[in-house]
């Protein structure tokens, strides 16, 4: 009971606008969909277990009446056991199929067109460097045009970092001596928090940046400044 009450209070407090569940790109939307789907399936499981758990604990608790009873010996029950083996398998298949599809989707860099914007992202203790095709460099803010495909080329100068803008999509690790790529298409203007998500040393906490998604004109102007 306590747990449920607390959950309700917290949900009200947070107003349901958790960053991960407030996607501003197709990638993040797909991931949010998976989160909702898996949450839904899993809540069904939790519900079944909770009902059985509360029911059995209440019904079969020790009372004055049954204190000296000896319950009947019971080896098991084939039918029941098959049900709770097969049912979870079906539920999991229901989750596995979209998982496979979306995992392939979000990892796919695919063919890029001339339109695609390429940005080199370099992580180092303890700052980010964003380098555009015309050589422009920034550290504190990553500026992206809205509705345009962006491919980030990520690498690290020292230890492992992880690039994460919750509203634009899941994170990707930034490794030394290796290039990881990530494709995103932001679909709404705004400023979104970005963070380093892989523990990277003393000031890991401070390795933050802002992602500013602006319209095309503004972006071109900014790029040429």
């Amino acid at each position: 009971m306590k747990k449920l009450a607390m959950m309700a209070v917290l949900l009200v407090l947070s107003g349901c606008n958790l960053r991960v569940l407030d996607p501003k790109s197709q990638t993040a939307s797909d991931q949010a969909f998976l989160i909702y789907l898996s949450f839904g399936i899993m809540m069904f499981v939790v519900l079944v277990v909770t009902v059985l758990f509360i029911g059995f604990t209440w019904k079969y608790r020790e009372t004055e009446k049954n204190r000296y009873d000896t319950p009947k010996h019971e080896e098991g029950n084939r039918t029941l056991e098959i049900i709770w083996t097969v049912l979870p398998i079906i539920l999991l298949i229901g989750l596995a199929i979209p998982t496979v599809m979306i995992t392939y989707d979000v990892s796919d860099i695919g063919a890029t067109s001339d339109e695609t914007l390429h940005v080199n992202v370099t992580g180092e203790q303890f700052r980010w460097t964003f380098e555009y095709e015309n050589g422009k460099q920034t550290h504190k803010n990553l500026v992206l045009p809205v509705d345009q495909e962006v491919v980030l080329h990520l690498t690290s100068n020292d230890v492992i970092h992880s690039f994460w803008v919750p509203k634009l999509g899941g994170k990707i690790d930034v490794l030394p001596g290796e290039e990881n790529q990530m494709k995103i298409t932001p679909n709404e203007e705004g400023t979104y928090q970005g963070k380093c998500a892989e523990y990277c040393g003393t000031l890991h906490t401070d390795m933050r940046f802002d992602t500013e998604v602006v319209d095309q004109e503004e972006f071109q102007q900014w790029l040429e400044e």
Partner: protein
């Protein structure tokens, strides 16, 4: 604290000073108390014994000591995170990194593992009708290796050099180039030494369970805790050598400039593979024994046999097996590609099936039973919903694309605390209350036990439930600060309140133990819980060699059926040769040698490395030509003639 003295900037680590001061004041008090109460003979008796009950108790005592230490670390973490833009004491930057590294490493390796191995030591031989573990001397060595490793790790803080690369010690951050101090050397040697002890404990457990069962106690008649211990021991046997190898490679990178995890030839991701090939089975090494404990307790306190025994055993084995095929789900963001990611996503989801089978079998064990709500059962009941909540977030995390959002956030922190505290810690507490009479002859106070349970459980959910939401709102793990705009203040604030409730609940454990032993009551009889398994047929506390007359087992829960039919268990005509107990200080000597060796390496003092190395090697040579059992065997042969 920092100040200028004669123009020089002096920086004093006040936390380390506070630790030293408390030891300097506390240690003499403890020594005085031991002397006054004349406890030294007892201490010496335990320190030199090879008896499984005593070694089990030592494991548990030191695990609880480390539990309080790592728990205090957790409270420091929560104090620093209580509000946005906070500065609590010294715990920002490196100090914070040290404190979360210590908390994690200590809780896994020096709290959870020894608590379970301690309970196995106490209960497994008794549950299968063995007079001791198969190799009593090796058992003592195993314990001393754990203690030595734990103490080395524990000491790091006192020399202001606690490890600071996280409990996962990811390369290249953990290599010399980025963390050059002695800090992470403590990590390497603490784990290397204690890991060896864990391997010994596993070998001992396997041989004991396979060879020393009472006549008629087929594997298919064995209670589920020994079953879980057997499977866990096999997992240890496969997983821990991988950790040893990884640590050795890291040691070469750090000390001798090898480039396994860095540079042209090496790769930092190798470390992650090695670590998680060990690390994921480790999770099941922690969970399976707890499952075993809960199976026994739920059956006992429902006055019913375990529902679906065969599928319970198969599920244990399946979980163990699948545990080796899922390690890369810790690495979904590394960029292994969608094929590897989906493969590991699906194997991970498969683990939910045997786990689900176990949960439903527990529930149906309770059905139509008579459920006694005493403390051990309360912990088992608290475990079911808690663990299921952790399990379902586990399935959510298995969904690879979604995990790219959860990974390395507080969502993950919440998940693994739900599963590890939900299973291992609640299981260890349940086992502690359950087998306490077997260890000491006293039953812990039920009322205080219930206080402990409720405070701990409520505190636990308060602490970790909000962390799911903090994670979804973008809070990465291992950060010492957040801003007001991050919108995670409320979650963190509630978390901190919960953590202190959990801390308070632990005081009830201390009070309970004190209260139980203050009264000079008679020991309880052999069977305080109306038990079903063999350990309840021998006196409490259990004497050395309790099964002089071997019981003959003809079915599962043989003791229960004997009690039902009002008869005593039949015994075998011939006694069986038991493992031979010795009094020995040799493990203490080995412990000292390895401490010297380890500190030699940690600080790079070659003479000390040679001294400690020679002493350790000498010890092995000495043991190779020395067997204290010879005398006993000779005597036996003479008796036979």
């Amino acid at each position: 604290m920092q100040f200028y003295l004669f123009g020089d900037l002096i920086v004093l680590p006040t936390d380390v000073i506070a630790a030293w001061v408390s030891v300097i004041i506390g240690a003499p008090l403890v020594l005085y108390w031991f002397t006054k109460k004349r406890y030294w003979p007892v201490v010496w008796d335990f320190a030199t014994s090879t008896n499984h009950r005593k070694i089990g108790m030592l494991y548990i005592i030191f695990a609880l000591l480390f539990f309080f230490r790592a728990g205090i670390d957790a409270l420091f973490i929560r104090m620093q995170l209580v509000t946005a833009e906070n500065e609590f004491w010294v715990f920002q930057g490196d100090k914070y990194n040290e404190i979360f590294t210590t908390h994690g490493t200590m809780m896994i390796f020096f709290v959870a593992m020894p608590l379970l191995i301690g309970l196995m030591n106490v209960a497994v031989p008794l549950q299968i009708g063995a007079n001791d573990l198969a190799f009593p001397f090796l058992n003592a060595i195993g314990f001393y290796l754990f203690l030595t490793g734990g103490m080395i790790f524990f000491a790091a803080f006192f020399f202001n050099a606690a490890p600071n690369a996280g409990w996962t010690a990811y390369a290249p951050l953990s290599t010399y180039e980025f963390t050059s101090g002695p800090n992470n050397n403590y990590y390497i040697f603490g784990l290397q030494v204690s890991g060896l002890g864990t391997i010994f404990a596993a070998i001992n457990m396997i041989v004991t369970i396979l060879r020393l069962r009472a006549p008629g106690l087929k594997l298919t008649r064995m209670p589920l805790f020994p079953w879980a211990s057997l499977i866990t021991s096999f997992l240890i046997l496969v997983a821990f050598p991988v950790l040893a190898i990884a640590l050795l490679l890291l040691q070469f990178d750090r000390f001798y400039g090898a480039t396994f995890f860095i540079g042209e030839m090496g790769h930092p991701v190798y470390w992650q593979h090695l670590f998680w090939i060990f690390g994921h089975p480790e999770v099941y090494i922690l969970a399976l024994p707890a499952f075993g404990i809960f199976s026994d307790i739920i059956s006992n306190f429902s006055r019913k046999n375990v529902f679906g025994y065969t599928s319970m055993v198969i599920a244990l084995a399946l979980i163990g097996l699948l545990g080796f095929m899922v390690w890369a789900h810790h690495m979904f963001t590394v960029g292994l590609g969608p094929f590897a990611n989906t493969f590991f996503a699906i194997t991970t989801m498969m683990i939910a099936v045997p786990t689900g089978i176990k949960v439903f079998n527990w529930l149906f064990t309770m059905r139509r039973g008579v459920i006694r709500l005493q403390t051990p059962m309360l912990f088992a009941l608290g475990f079911i919903p808690t663990f299921v909540m952790g399990g379902v977030t586990g399935v959510m995390l298995a969904s690879a694309a979604a995990d790219m959002q959860y990974h390395d956030t507080y969502f993950v922190v919440a998940h693994f605390h739900y599963v590890i505290i939900g299973s291992t810690v609640l299981g260890a507490f349940a086992g502690l209350y359950y087998w306490y009479p077997k260890m000491t002859g006293k039953v812990l106070d039920d009322k205080l036990g219930k206080w402990h349970f409720w405070l701990f459980l409520i505190g636990f959910h308060l602490t970790f439930f909000p962390q799911h939401l903090a994670g979804l709102n973008g809070m990465p793990r291992r950060v010492y600060d957040y801003t007001w705009e991050d919108g995670v203040f409320v979650y963190n604030f509630i978390s901190t309140i919960g953590a202190f409730l959990m801390g308070a609940s632990m005081l009830f454990v201390l009070w309970n133990i004190y209260k139980t032993h203050r009264t000079k009551e008679e020991n309880v009889g052999p069977d305080p819980w109306d038990g079903r398994t063999l350990e309840w047929s021998v006196p409490s506390p259990v004497p050395e060699h309790p099964f002089e007359k071997m019981p003959v087992i003809d079915r599962r829960d043989a003791l229960w059926w004997a009690k039902q039919e009002g008869r005593s268990l039949p015994v075998a005509d011939h006694p069986r040769a038991s493992p031979i107990a010795v009094r020995t200080v040799q493990p203490l000597v080995l412990s000292a040698a390895l401490t010297i060796l380890s500190f030699g390496f940690i600080y790079g003092w070659v003479w000390m490395q040679i001294l400690g190395g020679a002493a350790s090697l000498g010890f092995f040579l000495l043991r190779a030509f020395n067997d204290e059992r010879t005398e006993a065997y000779r005597k036996e042969e003479q008796d036979d003639e």
